[in-house]
């Protein structure tokens, strides 16, 4: 089953109000409105693209060790996945799919890291529950996401909804700003140039991991 098929099946259950979320019907039009507006804003078209030079960064892994993108790129192609947080079921399913794909990535000489605004404790939880063998780096204030053109501010009505659902992003991310990255996947070549870029303003849509193989193999 492809990643997108899994996401679609989850979305159907979620919208039908099935467990474990038992989501009330009235939340869906609000979430869909926010997604539609984010797509309509063409924010995704302003994100970094294939051929752009990737910004350099150093972020901490969940154990507090600094990880430098320049060091990783020196070893081989670098795969980045921008991850909204362990509270997002679609995002967790994507990380699981990338974990399954990890042996293929490693065989091709690539390194994989996820980048998320959430605090280290939440990343440790995600690594544990999703069984990940790659790190989730802490991007405080979404600075790296911003440099890639992915950071966006949640609209007021979505903040209201998240608060009602007890999805308290300021606590979750230790940042009062209510910003998130658009989900995105990048492959950066050893020359520091972006070889593959996929940005998903609709968080229920994700590319298959296999789609970046050509870019990784160069």
């Amino acid at each position: 089953m492809t990643l997108q098929a899994k996401l679609d099946a989850f979305k159907a259950d979620f919208k039908a109000g099935k467990p474990p979320y038992n989501a009330p019907a009235e939340i869906h039009p609000i979430m869909e409105r926010a997604t539609a507006e984010l797509i309509a804003s063409s924010a995704a078209s302003k994100a970094l693209k294939v051929g752009d030079k990737a910004p350099l960064f150093t972020l901490k892994d969940p154990d507090g060790h600094p990880v430098s993108s320049a060091d990783l790129v020196a070893k081989g192609p670098l795969v980045l996945t921008f991850y909204r947080g362990v509270w997002c079921p679609y995002c967790n399913m994507e990380l699981q799919a990338l974990q399954e794909f990890l042996p293929t990535l490693r065989e091709a000489g690539a390194t994989l890291v996820a980048i998320s605004p959430q605090i280290a404790a939440n990343s440790r939880k995600s690594v544990r529950t999703n069984g990940l063998e790659f790190p989730i780096l802490s991007d405080t204030h979404n600075e790296v996401a911003h440099a890639f053109g992915l950071r966006f501010e949640l609209p007021d009505y979505l903040i209201e909804l998240y608060k009602n659902l007890r999805n308290d992003l300021p606590t979750f991310n230790d940042d009062p700003s209510w910003t998130l990255p658009m989900p995105a996947r990048y492959v950066i070549g050893q020359d520091g140039v972006i070889r593959y870029a996929e940005v998903n303003p609709d968080y229920t849509q994700r590319p298959e991991p296999e789609a970046m193989l050509d870019a990784i193999r160069g």
């Binding site: 030079k53 910004p55 350099l56 960064f57 430098s68 993108s69 600075e143 911003h146 440099a147």
Partner: protein, 295 residues
């Protein structure tokens, strides 16, 4: 209330969007403003303002009256100036707004000569790092840095300045000196929250490279940024304007001179819709002269 005073009151109400803000600008009580507007509407026998929970908005008739009333007031000011016959025509109060550090280093020390040149002029200098509402504050001219977010303003770029990476010699002695963008990943930076944040975009003859800098300290005002740098807490990216005295004295030093960063622009911003006054234009010209000479 005479006709001109009533016009002036109405213009302030439309510009500020409220009776109370207009009253503050005019230095009179709010009831006096409400009364003046009511009298004006009754004399003209037409509704000029729509009052709603969201505030005041001019009606179509009010808008037409606003445009002409404003012109009448400006004409009347000009007439006053002409009658006074002041050679320069620069009299009264000039309300200027600028960022705190920029004002302190580059404007205040040079105000003396401008005042000497214009003996009948007084200056009201509002130093604030935030972008104040020019209409509400009654500002004649604001000096602003960086990208202008408010498209409703009349602005003119009057100068630009290099941005550089700098720190104290003591910091470089302890932590080494970066020579390329990748080196910055190993450094601690003090991040100016208003100055573009942590994403520094470098360029040299051959390539462009941006770096997301690690900053354990973020500061919202230039004064705090300067003190953090002087306390050897890290390197920073700033305009040469912000550290002009210390770059000259050697208290801080520029590094990575093979690389350039986007320049810092300085804009003269005038309140929307009002014609820049002669005194505001004269001041902008004076500042431009200072900065071009590299003062």
């Amino acid at each position: 209330m005479d006709r001109l005073a009533a016009m002036e009151t109405f213009v302030y109400v439309v510009e500020t969007g409220s009776f109370s803000a207009a009253a503050r600008r005019l230095n009179i009580g709010q009831p006096a403003v409400s009364k003046a507007i009511a009298q004006l509407e009754s004399r003209l026998a037409v509704r000029l303002l729509l009052r709603s929970t969201r505030g005041l908005t001019p009606t179509e008739a009010g808008l037409a009256f606003f445009e002409r009333a404003k012109r009448a007031i400006e004409e009347s000011d000009e007439a006053d100036n002409a009658a006074r016959g002041a050679a320069s025509g620069l009299t009264g109060n000039l309300r200027i707004c600028a960022a705190v550090t920029f004002g302190r280093i580059h404007i205040v020390p040079h105000l003396g000569r401008f005042l000497e040149q214009n003996p009948d002029l007084n200056i009201d200098l509002l130093l604030d790092d935030r972008n104040l509402n020019l209409v509400e504050e009654g500002v004649d001219i604001a000096l602003r840095m960086g990208a202008l977010s408010d498209s409703g303003l009349t602005a003119r770029k009057i100068a630009e300045c290099r941005r550089v990476v700098l720190a104290t010699p003591a910091y470089f002695e302890k932590h080494g000196e970066p020579t390329c963008p990748a080196d910055l990943c190993k450094h601690q930076a003090v991040v100016y929250a208003l100055g573009g944040g942590a994403n520094w975009q470098f360029r040299n003859a051959n390539e462009e490279q941006s770096v997301i800098i690690n900053g354990r300290i973020r500061v919202s005002a230039a004064e705090g940024l300067r003190e953090a740098v002087f306390a050897h807490l890290g390197l920073t990216m700033a305009s040469e304007w912000m550290f002009a005295p210390e770059l000259a004295s050697g208290a801080v030093r520029e590094v990575m001179t093979d690389w350039t960063l986007p320049n810092q622009d300085l804009w003269a911003v005038f309140p929307t819709g009002r014609m820049a006054s002669a005194k505001a234009r004269a001041f902008v010209g004076y500042v431009q002269g200072l900065l071009v000479k590299g003062a």
